[in-house]
């Protein structure tokens, strides 16, 4: 599950586990040089690595290695390479289907897994831009390792799913263009229930919380599972790329839909083992759950009939924000 600090107490932490078919030996200075060679647009002002921090690392042994010590620049997130004995192994039989979607042959790859390195990047504060920068740095570092011929797959912890090495390179390239690799950074889970013999599906995001401090949950409804999943991913995309702020009681719908179909967005505080989690629930008109029973009365006043107050996307919002911060 995502590790998210409380609001105002620092940013999210992003972890990528790169799995190898054999051990890899490297020094931190080699990784820094490879990172800057492959991703020169990263805003990192790196100095010489002190010999005290440039020991040879071996992914068959214990590693806890800070990567950017005393370096500067907007992308210089607190980064650590970690390899702990006995941690970072997965049982292919225990994986959910949606954990394997972006690396369909993960079962076979896991059977060859002999070693791994965990890359951990912490955002400097709790803003979406800082979280993006930290996730991007983790993605680029993961891609540096994923390009090695011995790389098998990458487990992206915040989304709780596996990615093929090619998907990781694609993820880093997209982020370097200031695009959101939503498909890789945000995971999904779909559930099914059959009350009264009719199938209902729900979908929930994994990893959005690291960027926006909430997840999106499509409440059980008589819709195909891919429709529930698409609504969750589209809502996440609107929040991240277009800067939409969803207020309790807002609706979202399909552009130019003559029938006026819309989903109701409600704020919900879900209690989990880790504490209380903020969730934006999406309610389909045919959802058997009464959203007011679950989330309380809908705030605000309904608009007059025929008045369109659906949340509209603000195209290019995030790119304008992050490019506005560039020095050049």
């Amino acid at each position: 599950m995502p590790v998210v600090s409380e609001k105002g107490k620092g940013g999210a932490n992003f972890s990528a586990y790169v799995l190898f078919s054999e051990g890899v030996q490297f020094s931190p200075s080699e990784i820094r040089a490879a990172l800057l060679e492959d991703y020169p647009a990263l805003e990192l002002e790196v100095g010489e690595v002190s010999s005290a921090f440039d020991n040879q690392c071996d992914t068959d042994e214990f590693i806890t290695c800070p990567l950017f010590v005393g370096d500067r620049g907007p992308d210089a997130a607190l980064t650590t390479l970690i390899r702990l004995p006995g941690y970072g192994t997965w049982d292919a039989r225990a994986l959910r289907h949606l954990q394997k979607v972006q690396c369909p042959d993960i079962d076979e790859r896991l059977s060859r897994n002999q070693s791994y390195i965990c890359i951990s990047c912490a955002a400097s504060d709790d803003t979406t831009i800082s979280a993006f920068r930290a996730a991007r740095l983790a993605s680029c570092l993961a891609a540096v390792f994923a390009k090695l011929p011995v790389a098998l797959a990458v487990y992206w912890e915040q989304a709780d799913h596996f990615l093929s090495p090619e998907a990781v390179v694609e993820m880093a390239d997209a982020a370097m263009s200031d695009d959101w690799p939503t498909k890789q950074w945000i995971g999904l889970d779909i559930e099914r229930t059959d009350p009264d013999g009719r199938p209902l599906f729900s979908a929930v995001s994994f990893g959005l919380e690291a960027f926006k401090s909430y997840e999106v949950h499509y409440a059980f409804a008589p819709v195909p599972p891919n429709e529930a999943a698409q609504w969750v991913m589209s809502t996440a995309q609107m929040a991240l790329e277009f800067g939409n702020e969803f207020q309790d009681g807002n609706t979202i719908g399909v552009e130019d839909d003559a029938d006026g179909f819309k989903l109701r967005i409600r704020d919900y505080a879900e209690t989990t083992e880790a504490g209380t989690k903020r969730v934006k629930m999406l309610f389909h008109p045919d959802c058997p759950i009464d959203h007011e029973d679950l989330c309380g009365p809908t705030p605000g006043i309904e608009p007059p009939a025929g008045f369109d107050n659906k949340v509209q996307p603000n195209w290019g919002f995030f790119k304008r924000m992050i490019r506005g911060q560039r020095a050049h």
Partner: protein, 150 residues
């Protein structure tokens, strides 16, 4: 057990860099067509590049270095092999992008003469663009550079 540096040397080349280099062939050829390169033309190419995601992902410094590399390559090998190599790397959509860049460089001084126009037509033809497609690109970019009402 393997060494990172040794394994990395066997990793596939950075496709993004090859694509970026190929995209620069047409605009740099246009800038160097008169035999000399003004600093302002180099700056114009870099400004154009920094509006494109491929170059944004490489950053300003790497893009500037690439422009200089392509200039040197043109001086060393000549226009035909450099342009042929570029076409070999780029899909049709990106060939159009390269021609857009070249048109922008040609009209950056506010006007375009017959020689420049014919050079652009020849580059577009060689890149496999139809005459209609080239004229669409050309007209739109001319509109972008209008300085007064017709």
């Amino acid at each position: 057990m393997g060494l990172f540096s040794k394994m990395r040397s066997k990793a596939p080349a950075n496709d993004n860099l090859n694509v970026a280099r190929a995209l620069l062939a047409a605009p740099v050829m246009m800038a160097t067509a008169d035999g000399k390169v003004e600093e302002s033309e180099v700056q114009e190419i870099i400004n154009l590049c920094m509006q494109n995601n491929i170059f944004v992902s490489l950053g300003l410094n790497r893009t500037t270095d690439l422009v200089k590399e392509v200039m040197l390559d043109l001086a060393k090998r000549g226009q035909t092999p450099v342009f042929d190599d570029a076409i070999g790397v780029l899909a049709m959509e990106l060939r159009e992008t390269g021609i857009c860049f070249a048109v922008r460089v040609a009209i950056s001084d506010g006007h375009i003469d017959e020689t420049e126009f014919q050079t652009l037509v020849a580059m577009a033809q060689k890149a496999g663009l139809t005459a209609d497609r080239f004229h669409q690109i050309f007209e739109v970019l001319m509109m972008l550079h209008r300085s007064k009402a017709a």
